[in-house]
Chain length 215, copies 2
DNA sequence: TCCTAATAAGGGGTAAAAAT
DNA sequence: ATTTTTACCCCTTATTAGGA
């Protein structure tokens, strides 16, 4: 009833899902690169060339387009993530500079109002080198800044993404570094780090991940 | 050798591509919500309940998991984008504050060294509003950033990034505003602040970011 | 009638359990 | 210890429903 046997060596009658040969795939990919949406006649030509039904060629291009699109979503993610990381880095730099400026302002004000003071030697208190102390909690404590909160918040989220997007992990120990400052309850959701399933999907672990909770 | 148990491999006589009924789908979805990877016996039970081959149930769950995973990527994207936006907004706030601080420092220094100065008359002179370059070079020029390497070639071809780009661009205006004060690095980079020792700020631009260390 | 989105199913590859 | 079975992943082919 269905498929005509025109160009089919393989019985296409039943849903024989034989993969196309490597050459066929190669040619199709080549055509796809030059034109992802060929017209009917082009498809017909391709079909004749490769010994496929025009219908198969059509379907192949459709599927190929869909595949391309879905792959692009992943690429979008990593690009956006790169931008996020970059921005986070800049954020940190800016924050440190901000701290420096605050200290400088204090120093200058001290100079202005008092002859000299040793308030400026408190500069590099917590923002020392190594990675863990990154999220130094509010170095601007000198002058109460309303922005103090966003450090942990942002960084934590960033790490969450690191966690659940990395395909191979094995490094579950770095959670400590933000746990240090997450002593308060505001980060209760971090319990999920232990259940983030590194291998593609959740295993027998039936705990839903945090991002699944609001679908 | 053949598999008699539940999930018999018996090829469906014909490729019944009929979609499952809405009821079947509904039940399956319900089961999936409670358990995305049912065991054989569960699948058998479901199959019996819904009048499907165990094989079909198995396949359905597999496909459903795959679907879930790919949707997850999209959700990750929007979550990440939300975080990006949030961080960007905080970045802007911080930047404005930074500018205020710079002006204040200038004012204080002016007070100290000269009787008076009008350094605070910086107006948004150059609000360039041209379009597409997301990786506009500016916002962080005040401190040389190694992350500037991501250039627009990765960005183009992304329709998803349209909003993203436009946001970046819209935040650009204030950057220019800020740049006025920091056109030369004499003020912007805290390097010149004599009292505070800010070398830790920008000496190691090429150090990988802390979150890159364990990706 | 073209398309896209969703989806059922085939088939290869693989890891771990079960059987030899 | 090896082979076989089983279950699952990934990717693919094909079908169906619906939109412009």
């Amino acid at each position: 009833m269905d498929i005509d046997p025109v160009a089919s060596e393989q019985t296409n009658k039943n849903c024989n899902k034989r993969r196309f040969s490597d050459e066929q795939i190669k040619s199709l990919e080549l055509m796809f690169n030059s034109e992802s949406r060929p017209g009917s006649k082009t498809k017909q030509r391709i079909a004749n060339q490769l010994g496929l039904h025009p219908r198969q060629v059509s379907v192949w291009f459709q599927n190929r387009r869909a595949r391309s699109k879905s792959k692009q979503t992943e690429r979008d993610y990593s690009i956006l993530k790169a931008h996020y990381d970059s921005l986070a880095s800049k954020f940190e730099v800016l924050k440190k500079e901000n701290q420096t400026l605050i200290i400088e302002v204090q120093r200058l004000r001290g100079l202005k109002e008092r002859p000299k003071d040793s308030t400026s030697d408190s500069a590099p208190a917590t923002c020392s080198s190594n990675g863990e102390s990154f999220s130094l909690s509010s170095p601007e404590k000198l002058i109460a800044k309303p922005e103090d909160y966003y450090t942990q918040d942002e960084i934590l989220c960033n790490d969450k993404f690191e966690e659940f997007k990395s395909f191979e992990q094995e490094t579950n120990n770095q959670e400590n570094f933000y746990m240090i400052e997450s002593a308060d309850d505001s980060l209760a959701s971090s319990r999920n780090y232990s259940s983030v399933e590194p291998t593609y999907l959740m295993e027998h672990n039936c705990i839903p991940n945090w991002w699944e909770l609001w679908v």
